[in-house]
């Protein structure tokens, strides 16, 4: 198939960006979206044009490195990561717009690459269970009921890609936060720090410049790992409990 691509190009963090239009030919529907961009980059280089910078690593949908706004949708039209999107989701002759994640807290580094280190700093604020190496009791000492274990797992599958932020009109990271708070909060091991965790993580979230949640739900709709929206309810509940405990 033949496609027209409108791609955001921006030389560096402080440079002014803009859209460039390119065409690609001979794209097979079995190719992944990123392989289509690889092909574009090979062609651009042959013409002496610098390739489009974009992030990707595992290309198996698990590392969370890739992430593009594809015709206005975070990760494109399917519920998956950009790397797992295949060209069979597009049709011959289509025009596709490709942009980086747009959020104040995710500044553009170059072209389609953004800086998501704010997520790491949110985890640093409290997204862990404090246990030094060697200090652990036997793994079978604390049974975890399967329902809680499954709920914890379902939210632990977050890959930290940032699609939730990119899709949210407020650029809020509450789904990311809620997923971590639920993952650790559902487990007996996570109880000791439950209150401080949620308070500290929310404070860091706001400090980084992410917006507030107004229950729009774009985040859950665009999450490639289908983290459910109710983790945000869990987050609010935990925050309420923590606030009461502090009084």
């Amino acid at each position: 198939m033949r496609l027209t691509l409108k791609i955001w190009r921006q030389d560096g963090p402080d440079a002014t960006g803009g859209f460039e239009t390119y065409t690609v030919d001979d794209i097979s529907e079995d190719m992944s979206f990123l392989e289509m961009l690889d092909e574009l980059n090979e062609n651009l280089q042959a013409r002496g044009i610098e390739p489009v910078a974009f992030d990707s690593d595992c290309r198996e949908g698990i590392c969370g490195t890739c992430g593009l706004m594809i015709s206005g949708l975070a990760h494109g039209p399917e519920v998956t990561t950009t790397c797992q999107l295949h060209m069979r989701s597009f049709s011959d002759g289509e025009e596709i717009t490709i942009e980086p994640w747009r959020a104040h807290a995710f500044p553009v580094i170059r072209d389609l690459v953004v800086d998501r280190s704010a997520f790491d700093r949110i985890i640093q604020a409290g997204g862990f269970i404090s246990v030094d190496t060697g200090a652990a009791p036997d793994a079978a000492a604390t049974p975890v009921p399967k329902v809680q274990a499954d709920r914890s797992f379902d939210t632990a599958t977050c890959i930290g890609c940032g699609a939730c932020v990119a899709a949210c009109p407020n650029a809020s990271a509450m789904l990311f936060l809620g997923a971590k708070v639920t993952h650790l909060g559902e487990l007996p091991q996570g109880q000791a720090e439950r209150n401080s965790r949620v308070v500290d993580m929310v404070a860091q979230h706001d400090h980084e410049g992410f917006g507030g949640c107004t229950n729009i739900g774009e985040c859950a709709a665009s999450c490639p790992k289908e983290i459910p929206l109710d983790v945000i309810s869990q987050l609010n509940k935990d925050l309420r409990v923590a606030a009461r405990a502090r009084r």
């Binding site: 097979s28 079995d30 090979e42 390739p51 690593d57 280190s117 269970i129 190496t133 632990a156 650790l184």
Partner: protein
């Protein structure tokens, strides 16, 4: 030193001491930890350690050393340590917990790992790995890793290839992700505390060696292009494997050998580089524009049955129309006692054999055969869940493998609940890596190597669910207890930023970058990488011959010249430049590929993942030659003459002695 052998390499002194302790194997590690010197807590903060790579092996070591109070600097090329490729491991992690009461023990895990590795690993190391394995599970559960549980709330286990007990802990098909998130969170906790300094989007491009000791690294900030010097008392490489030398592999796009190779060029021996694991269950290649291959977890072989049509003329039929009696469940036929759960090397080679016989399935792909002629071959075999769905019900199959089935459907557009999956082997893991002694210290004092980047525990073939085990064993429990013996001798003499060794290392980095940016040739980096990959896959892949390897060495040397004279890298150094990053990696892959072929050529036996067509049993199984080859081949970097156009490495042998396990021809029949 000896004469040039086969015109390719020389033999040097054997390795005298691997520091492996002696005595009863059960007490070696405990005794060794006691004998290793301690560093008192007040002195730890005066000692600094650099860790390159933040996957399981690097993040766990970083967190643990940080907790202990050392000053740690960690580096990764990704934008966050949470993205390292350990995250993609699907199936599980082994541990000798014996929660199933099915006869498992530390000794059995040790035995299985040595046998699975085809008797090419060091006994003391493997025993230690098995010994610390239960602690890993304890640690991870305490961190909040959500392993699969049974209804009673206790941990569940599954089976994996090459063993007959259920010792694999798992978190659906995302075990690596969950373990890495655990280690990442422990690391972030230390970053918040200030014991660990993290450098993301940084790539190590050179090792600094002063007075024979590793004292730092030269790294490039991939966003600004700045070349930075980082100095420390010790350096740890946890930089992963080099499977991307084959271009197509299940590794992440960024996985590379550069950190390890720069250390190799500075004197660290590279051990058994030809031992490559080709994983049997990957999604077959779809075309020549493909950027990577995708693994389907080995756990699928627990319930899926592998087959090809008995008759070549059935190969293009709808598999559902092929009656039972016309199907060849070849693994169950050839290996009745292990069936579909034979080790990876065997499962892979048999899939290749079936396709070579003309009984492969899926689209026919044009390839160049060993004779140099083009031919069309179907490269795929079926992995069929019809009987599992019938036995367990679709729902149970979905709960066990749902995410893998979804991934398969997304990539291929076929529904595996209805039509059997098609799979084919792909490069997945390398057992080879930098040589280390029992302390995980390389041949350069003060340079330690952990995880996939070292060669240490898997011999010539790694068992499933053992990579995660090794990465975390090294990082949480082994390295922190061995490196202290070295650090106890420090803090070492401070190094000046303008020391001649530092200046030289920086110059080597900037010269290379300058060359790539001004070469102005015709070929893109990727096109050369692809060409290298197809040479490696054809001649140094699942089956190797002396003739093919010799040919490959010649081809790689030509390609190396082509690369250095005709590569084209656009843009500049002072900004994010992904082609420039790749150019440096491919330069090192080219040299590594040459060494891999030399190693494969010199090892005139078959063992584990290394199959030499000249050395096989009458039934076509790998035939070891213990008399001549029961050693680790540790290669020292050397070139023919001054310029590095051709390698002429020096071989140092470390003899493998088996005191506890009897060496046998492996049999899974």
């Amino acid at each position: 030193m000896t004469e040039l052998i086969d015109g390719l390499y020389r033999e040097g002194e054997p390795i005298a001491d691997s520091k492996a302790p002696d005595g009863p194997i059960e007490t070696r590690w405990e005794r060794h930890q006691f004998e290793n010197a301690l560093v008192n807590p007040a002195n730890r903060r005066k000692l600094s350690v650099i860790i390159v790579g933040t996957g399981l092996a690097g993040a766990s070591a970083g967190a643990t050393l940080g907790e202990a109070g050392y000053h740690v600097k960690t580096f990764c090329y990704q934008d966050s340590p949470r993205r390292a490729h350990s995250i993609a491991a699907q199936g599980g992690i082994n541990a000798a917990k014996n929660y199933k009461g099915d006869g498992d023990s530390v000794y059995r895990l040790f035995y299985d790992t040595v046998k699975g590795g085809d008797y090419r690993s060091r006994e003391s190391n493997v025993y230690r790995l098995a010994e610390v394995s239960p602690n890993i599970i304890d640690q991870c559960v305490a961190q909040g890793v959500p392993f699969a549980r049974e209804y009673g709330g206790l941990l569940d286990n599954r089976s994996f290839g090459g063993v007959q007990v259920q010792r694999t802990f798992y978190a659906r098909g995302q075990t690596g992700q969950q373990l890495l998130i655990g280690a990442y969170q422990a690391l972030e906790r230390q970053i918040a505390k200030g014991t660990v300094e993290m450098f993301s989007r940084h790539e190590m491009l050179e090792l600094v060696v002063i007075d024979g000791k590793a004292r730092g690294i030269i790294a490039r900030d991939m966003v600004t292009g700045e070349i930075e010097t980082h100095l420390a008392d010790a350096v740890v490489l946890a930089s992963g494997g080099y499977g991307n030398v084959f271009f197509l592999s299940t590794n992440a796009m960024g996985c590379n050998v550069t950190a390890a190779w720069r250390a190799h060029r500075k004197g660290a021996y590279m051990a058994n580089p030809c031992y490559t694991q080709i994983h049997p269950t990957c999604i077959p290649q779809h075309g020549d524009k493909q950027s990577k291959l995708t693994l389907m977890s080995e756990s699928l072989r627990n319930d899926g049955r592998i087959w090809v049509p008995k008759n070549a003329e059935d190969c293009d039929k709808d598999p559902r129309d092929i009656p039972e009696e016309d199907r060849d469940y070849y693994l169950e036929r050839i290996y009745p006692s292990f069936g579909n759960l034979v080790p990876r090397d065997i499962a892979s080679r048999q899939a290749k054999n079936m396709c070579d016989e003309g009984r492969g399935v899926g689209p026919a792909i044009v390839e160049v055969g060993p004779d140099g002629e083009e031919r069309e071959v179907r490269r795929g075999v079926y992995l069929d869940f019809a009987s599992a769905i019938e036995r367990m019900g679709r729902e149970s199959v979905e709960s066990k493998y749902g995410n893998l089935f979804d991934m398969y459907e997304r990539i291929t557009g076929e529904n595996p609940y209805e039509v059997p999956m098609r799979i084919y082997p792909a490069v997945h893991y390398v057992m080879g890596g930098l040589w280390v002694d029992y302390d995980l210290e390389s041949s350069i004092p003060g340079l330690y190597v952990t995880g996939e980047a070292n060669f240490s525990d898997h011999g010539a073939n790694r068992l499933g669910a053992s990579a995660l085990m090794q990465g975390l064993a090294d990082g949480y429990f082994v390295l922190p207890n061995t490196i202290r013996d070295y650090l106890a001798k420090g803090p070492f003499e401070p190094v000046a930023e303008d020391a001649p060794e530092v200046e030289e290392a920086r110059r080597s980095v900037t010269d290379r970058i300058e060359h790539f940016l001004t070469c102005d040739g015709e070929r893109t980096v990727d096109s050369i990488h692809k060409e290298l990959g197809s040479i490696m896959w054809e001649y140094c892949g699942m089956e190797r011959t002396a003739e093919g390897l010799q040919k490959a060495i010649g081809l790689i040397r030509e390609l190396k010249t082509e690369f250095w004279t005709n590569v084209k890298v656009l843009g500049s150094n002072d900004q994010l430049n992904q082609s420039l990053e790749k150019a440096g990696r491919v330069a090192d892959f080219l040299e590594l590929g040459e060494l891999m072929c030399i190693d494969a050529l010199h090892r005139e036996e078959s063992c584990g993942g290394h199959f030499r067509a000249e050395s096989q049993t009458e039934e076509g199984e790998a035939l070891r030659n213990d008399e001549d080859f029961s050693y680790v081949a540790a290669w020292e970097y050397a070139t023919k003459g001054e310029d590095a156009a051709e390698l002429e490495p020096v071989l140092h042998k470390e003899d493998l002695v088996y005191e506890f396990i009897e060496m046998k021809q492996r049999s899974y029949k």
